[in-house]
Each structure stands twice: as C-alpha cells, then as structure tokens.
C-alpha cells in the first residue's frame, strides 16, 4: 500500500513531520470515543469481577472468588454447552444452504434485482421482530406451523415448540437458520460474481464438467471468502441474545440459556454483578482471541479486507 506522503517528493522535512501527526489527528476522535465507550467499561468490568458486588453495592476485594465460583457452577457450563450446540448446528447448516443457494442464484436466474432485496429481508429485520414472527408461527395450539404441521403430523401436541425442553433449542436453531441463510447466500453469491472469468474459459476449452469446475476452480478461488464469512457468522451467532430473549428467555428450565442470557439474568434478575462481570470478562477474552484469529485470517487470506 502506498501513501500519498510517500509519493510526495518535495519539502521532505515538512512532509515527514506532517506524516507523523496527520493520520493520528484523523483517528483521534474515533479512538477517544471507542476508549470511552468500550475500553473504560471493560476495565470497570474487570474491576467488578474481582469484587463482591451484589444489588448494586460493591464491597470487598475477593480476588478470583467470582471466577472460581463461576467455573464450578454447572449452570455456567450448561450455558457454554447450549451455545456450542446452537452455533455448532446452525452455522454449518447456514453455510451449506448458503453455498448451494449462491450457486443456484449464480445460474441464469431472472429478476435477481427484485429477488435479492427480498431475500435480504430476514437478515435485515430486527432480531426482536424475527423472534416475534416465529413466536406467532410456532405459538402453541393456534400457530400456523404448530397447528398445521407439528400437531397434524403428531410431532408435538398443543404446545409451542419453544416451550418443550427437548425441542426449544432446536427451534431456536431453526429460527437462526431462517434469518441468516440468506446472508450467507448473498455474500457467497457476491463472491461468485467477483471471480475472474479466465480459469472458467480455460476449463471450458479443456472440456471439464460442472463438478470438476466447481471443485477445481470455484471452490479454491472462493475459499478465502468462505473462511472469513464463516468466521464472521460464527462470532455473531455466539452473541445471540434478542431472539432467544423474546422466544424462550433461556427456558424451559435452562435448556436454551446461552452465556449472553445467563449474564443478563445474573445482572438484572439475581443482581449478582460481581459474578456476572466475571462471566463477561471470560466471554470477552474468548471473543478477543477469536477476533485476533479472524483478523489474521482475514488479512492473510483476503488482501481486499
């Protein structure tokens, strides 16, 4: 990457002085704001996580007690398990369906300029509205799908899928797939559209068939994008809150209690802020490690990123 200042010949002394402070001046407002709204709250959370803090009152310094208590709490490990099952099922399915959908869209489909914005609807909707939508579709006894599909084919009785302990998590997975498959599909489709034509022409000359073209040309060229989008979706899926909050609130029991839901309950229901902070710090560290991986992968594998 070349910068303007590097390309500028004359007035070297002034230029190098300018080169030093000018970019920092431009990023300063953003950095200051993000420090205030992100770093400061984070440091405060770390501070709280080492203190006994209940009902809004911060009392003694207790070292790692909050962490130890959390790590020996089955409810904490349950939430990690729930999130792993959720992400582990939803994201791969979204990925595969998205890829297949993108390949279909990339064929001679007419009216794409209308189809594409329509397909974006689920992804762009407020998660809380998505939750509401599926609360309606899967409402106990009268919901369109509950009554006409689940009940008619004797899959479950007159109850909402979200109220059944064995099913609720999978119902949430289903909602996530509904919302995010279009996103994967359109991201992959945009990637397909941006591929160079040269290799395809060469393959056509060599008489390669569709399957060969896919595995030897399309897939390798698309791979970096697939990895980055997959990682991005993985990170976002792990954060899921709104839809779970409105659909099950973590229930029945703790069968759909993700770390986000648990942290929220610890704070605003049990008012155990110390332990909630410890949980937040652990999640934060996990995310930071993941972001680092994401950034390195994105930088190395996609120059454009």
């Amino acid at each position: 990457m070349t910068s303007i200042t590097e390309a500028m010949p004359a007035n070297a002394a002034r230029a190098s002085r300018e080169r030093f402070w000018y970019p920092y001046l431009l990023i300063a407002p953003t950095m200051i704001t993000l420090t205030l709204v992100s770093l400061v709250p984070f440091i405060y959370t770390v501070y709280l996580s080492f203190h006994a803090a209940k009902f809004g009152r911060v009392t003694d310094f207790i070292g790692f007690d909050n962490y130890l208590h959390l790590l020996s709490d089955t409810r904490f490990w349950n939430s990690i398990g729930v999130a792993l099952v959720f992400v582990g099922i939803a994201v791969p399915i979204e990925f595969m369906l998205g890829l297949v959908g993108a390949l279909v869209l990339n064929q001679h489909v007419k009216g794409r300029s209308i189809l594409i914005p329509l397909l974006f609807m689920p992804t762009m909707m407020a998660p809380i509205v998505v939750g509401l939508l599926w609360k309606i579709m899967l409402a106990g006894s009268w919901g369109l799908i509950s009554y006409n599909v689940l009940e008619r084919f004797h899959l479950i009785g007159q109850t909402s899928a979200f109220a059944s302990p064995g099913l609720a998590l999978y119902a949430l997975v289903f909602v996530d797939i509904w919302q995010w498959t279009p996103f994967m599909m359109l991201a992959f489709f945009a990637g397909l559209q941006a591929l160079p034509l040269g290799p395809y022409r060469a393959a056509a000359v060599d008489g390669a068939n569709g399957v060969q073209v896919f595995f030897h040309i399309t897939l390798p060229m698309l791979a970096p994008l697939l990895v980055v989008i997959g990682l991005l979706r993985l990170i976002d899926a792990f954060k899921v809150f709104d839809t779970v909050y409105i659909l099950t609130g973590g229930g029945p029991g703790i069968s759909t209690e993700t770390p986000s839901i648990l942290a929220n309950k610890m704070t605003f229901e049990f008012w155990n802020i110390g332990e909630a902070s410890a949980l937040a710090v652990l999640v934060w560290i996990a995310f930071f490690v993941f972001c680092n991986i994401f950034y390195q992968v994105a930088k190395k594998r996609l120059n454009a990123f």
Partner: protein, 278 residues
C-alpha cells in the same frame, strides 16, 4: 457481472428462476403471515383450524395508537439519526486515515476497533448500567446515543475503510503536488468521491441502531422507549396482544424494507465488513 460457464439458454433459466422464486416464497411467507395479522380479528387469529379468509379490522391499529406507540416511533427515529450523525462525523476521517496512511501500531489499533465491533453487547450492558446510574444517564437520550457508538462507530470505520481503499490515489497525489492543503484535498476530492459509500454505510448504521434491542431495553425503556422495546411490553398480564405486536413489528420493518431495495448492492459489503465487494 461474471456469467457462469455453461450458457444453455431458456429452459434452464426457467428452471433455476422458478427454484429461486419458490425458495424466496417459502422464506418470506412468515413475514406475509405476520403482515396479515395486523388486520386479523382476535377470534380468527386463535381459531383452530387456521382461518385463511376474514373480514379485516383496524382494532389493533387503534389500540397501538391509544398506547402512544407513535412516541416510540419518534424516539427511535431521533435516536438513530443523532447517533448515526455522530458516527459519520467522527468515523469518516478515521476510516480515511486507516486506508491511506502508515501508522505505528496500525494493526493493533485496528484490531482494537474490530474487537469493539465483535464484543457481545451483553458484556457492555453491565458496566454501562452501573456507570450510567452514577452519572444520571440512565433512560436518557445522551446515554443511549453513547451506547450505540460501541457497535456502530467501529462498524462504520471498518466498512468505510474498504470504500476509501477503492478511491484512486492518483488524484490526491496530483492535488498534493499542486500545493492543495490536506483539508482542501479531503473536501474537494475525497469527500465527493466517497459520498455514496458514506451514505450506504451510514444507512446501515441507522438500521442497526433501529434494530437494537438490548441497550435500549436495559439502559432506556421508560422516558426513552424505542420501537423494538415497545414490542415485549405488549405481553401484558391480561395476555399477549398479538395483533398489536404485528402492527409494531411491521412498522419496525418498513424502513428496513425501503433501505434494502435502495441499497442492495452495498448491503453485502456492509454486512461482511467489506470482505466482499458488493
């Protein structure tokens, strides 16, 4: 636009088009169903078997208006406009700097920006709540505007950076040789070229703020109540007001609908943090 290698014409095009349309119809049907519930009388709503045809009613709209929900609509609009305006003012120079200049620690600074975008909002809401409670910022417009910066400012800088990278550097170099000042270059060259990127990214920020629930619910909720927050409040002790929820939900959907039709090319790029050239 790249075409696919096999170019067998009409019959295949028909097949693929109908597959795509069928898929879209299945995916979008629930949205249509919710829309129909806006005007569906309560007795038809809960009927078994499902009632498909009914005489439309406006009772849900009346209730929603009587509850003062239009204030939530106004609050949402104001909050999203103000917070997005701040993001654009603060973030545009930063995105440009990250795309154009070498800086010490640039990678680390940028990773910090990414980390603030990726951090789960639930982790932030705890400290925000306590700090805001002390500063008297709970349930205030300023408090929520600040909170919205956490996800939108970092997102904006990240995505706009990829638009900045697409600008031809030669124009700016030529202007530098002409002796234009930095400010002149930015105002007369960079900004006009970047305008469509700024609008597209800013509108996405607006939508994210529009869709936001957790901060608005935990840090606001009474004096400053946004549209998404008003939805769960329709779960009352007398029962759930489904029709009213559908009205509010569809209202929340309208600006999003408008935006995706206008900005479809930029949306992929935005949602993928610039990884895909939309």
């Amino acid at each position: 636009m790249a075409e696919t290698p096999d170019s067998a014409e009409n019959p295949r095009a028909m097949l693929w088009t109908s597959i795509a349309i069928a898929y879209a119809a299945v995916v979008l049907f629930p949205i249509f169903w919710m829309a129909s519930m806006m005007v569906k009388p309560n007795d038809a709503m809960f009927a078994r078997p499902t009632v498909w045809l009914f005489a439309p009613t406006l009772e849900h709209f009346k209730y929603v208006l009587a509850q003062g929900f239009h204030w939530s609509l106004l609050t949402s609009f104001g909050l999203c406009l103000v917070s997005t305006a701040f993001v654009v003012i603060i973030g545009t120079p930063a995105a440009y700097a990250f795309a154009r200049f070498e800086m010490k620690l640039k990678d680390d600074l940028f990773l910090f920006i990414l980390a603030t975008r990726m951090a789960p909002p639930v982790c932030l809401v705890i400290p925000f709540y306590l700090i805001f409670a002390r500063l008297g910022l709970l349930d205030t417009f300023i408090g929520l505007t600040l909170a919205y910066m956490t996800f939108n400012l970092s997102f904006y800088v990240w995505v706009l950076r990829s638009f900045c990278r697409d600008l031809p550097v030669e124009l700016e170099e030529a202007a530098t040789l002409e002796g234009w000042s930095r400010v002149q270059i930015f105002r007369r060259i960079v900004f006009p070229l970047l305008r469509s990127g700024i609008v597209a990214t800013a509108v996405l920020c607006f939508i994210f703020a529009w869709n936001e629930f957790l901060f608005a619910f935990m840090l606001g909720g009474k004096a400053v109540q946004t549209l998404p927050v008003s939805i769960p409040k329709l779960i009352t002790s007398q029962g759930v007001r489904w029709g009213e929820m559908a009205v509010v939900g569809m209202t929340a959907l309208l600006p999003v609908l408008a935006v995706v039709f206008v900005l479809q090319r930029h949306i992929v790029r935005g949602l993928t943090l610039g990884a895909v050239k939309g």
